[in-house]
Every structure is written in C-alpha cells, then in structure tokens.
Symmetry: C2
Subunit: 129 residues, 2 copies
C-alpha cells in the first residue's frame, strides 16, 4: 500500500502520484479498473481529499487515468509516448544522485548494485515474457 512521508520535503500529492504511477507502470491495475475515490484514499493516507485530487489530476494529465465526475478515477489503456532527446538524461542524473545518497547513507556498493540489477532484471522480464 501507499505510504506517505509527511516529513519529506517532496509534496504529498507528488508522493501519491509517484507511488500510483509505479503501480500503474507495473500493471498492478488493469484498464477499466476504478481507483478509490479521492476521499477514501485521502482518509486512508491521512491527508486532505484535495491533495489526492491533485495527484489524480497529474496522472490524468499524463494519460494514466480518466477522471469523470461521479465515476471515480478509471485506469486507462496507455500507449508509450515518444521519448524526447533529454529524456534519458532526466533518468541517469537522478539515478547517479540517488546512488550517491545511498552511499552517503552507508549502503554498500554491492547492495546498491544488486538492487539495481534486480530491478533491471524485472524490467527485462516484462519486455520479453
């Protein structure tokens, strides 16, 4: 389940969007499925429903959800868009910084490498099943 870190400096609505996007990418929800209403999810997470609504809106802008009044948030079939030129850079840089933070926090290089390789393996499995 989603967990919100109120102490974090990254906005709650983006934490929700990030978490949901991760689940959507991993096909945890099928198209047509309905996500919880903004209020129920808000209560579950202990935040305001407008905050959840903002997260839903962001995902809807990216094409993941369809928002219809009184029909909740419906998961949409989504075809992959074209990757721009700096898109890869927008991945590699935060990745390096994330690894640096992990090392700075005392994580061993081998455990970090293992985690990344595992994640990569999971990705490739979905590519050629």
């Amino acid at each position: 389940m989603l967990r919100i870190d109120l102490a974090s400096r990254v906005p709650v609505y983006e934490q929700i969007a990030n978490g949901l996007r991760a689940e959507l990418v991993s096909r945890k929800f099928s198209p047509g499925e309905k996500l919880p209403t903004v209020r129920t999810l808000a209560i579950n997470l202990g935040v305001h429903h407008n905050t959840v609504a903002e997260a839903y809106r962001q995902l809807a802008n990216e094409g993941w959800l369809e928002l219809k009044r009184h029909h909740g948030a419906i998961v949409r079939e989504r075809n992959h868009p074209e990757a721009g030129p700096d898109t890869m850079e927008r991945f590699t840089r935060p990745l390096r910084e994330l690894v640096a933070k992990g090392l700075a926090d005392g994580l061993s290089p081998s455990s970090l490498a293992r985690e990344m390789i595992e994640t990569a393996r999971g990705l490739e499995e979905r590519t050629a099943p």
Copy 2:
C-alpha cells in the same frame, strides 16, 4: 559541470548538493582539495551565493566537506557510516518511482535496464579494484 534547473521544483541548493555529492562519491575530488568559493560557484551557476553556501553546509553536515572561514570548502576524507534499518527502503522506493517515471516518459525498459546495470557495474568496480 553542474547544471541547475531553475524550473525544477527541487530546491536549487539541494540540486547543487546532490550534484556535488555525486561527484564526491565518485572520487572526482581528492581529500584536501578545495572547492570553488561560494561566490564564484554562485556566479558560475547564476544563483545567489547564499544558495551555494546552503548546499555546502548540507554537505559539511554529512561529513563531506570542512568549512573554514576564508579557507573555502575543503574536501574531507570520509569513512562510511552505519546504514540504518530503513536506509535500503529509502533507496529502493525512489528507484522504483524513478523507473516508473522513465517508462512513463517513453524510455524503453531495455534502455533503463542497461543504464542501471552499467551503473551497478561501475559501482562494483570501485568495490574490488
């Protein structure tokens, strides 16, 4: 060189700290070396010197730098700290979310996997040189 994205929502001082930390972790600077003064780096990046100072302070708190007045920021020898219990979680969750964002932006799973494996390989090289 460091590049600052003023449009980004992550604070500039943290962008600077993240970028420098990544370079420090990769041993791009040797202990004893001096980093640019807050003002010169600030001019280079086009930000206020107090913003750079905040980044330096953050890195000093983590033990990467030693700040002495009129001696600039000196790179320190730094021994790895103990990793807490949730430290790994603070790495895997953002990693998953980062991958999800990459996929959402149209990056192919294989290219993401390749990048992560390459980063992991670079890490392991530094482990047993």
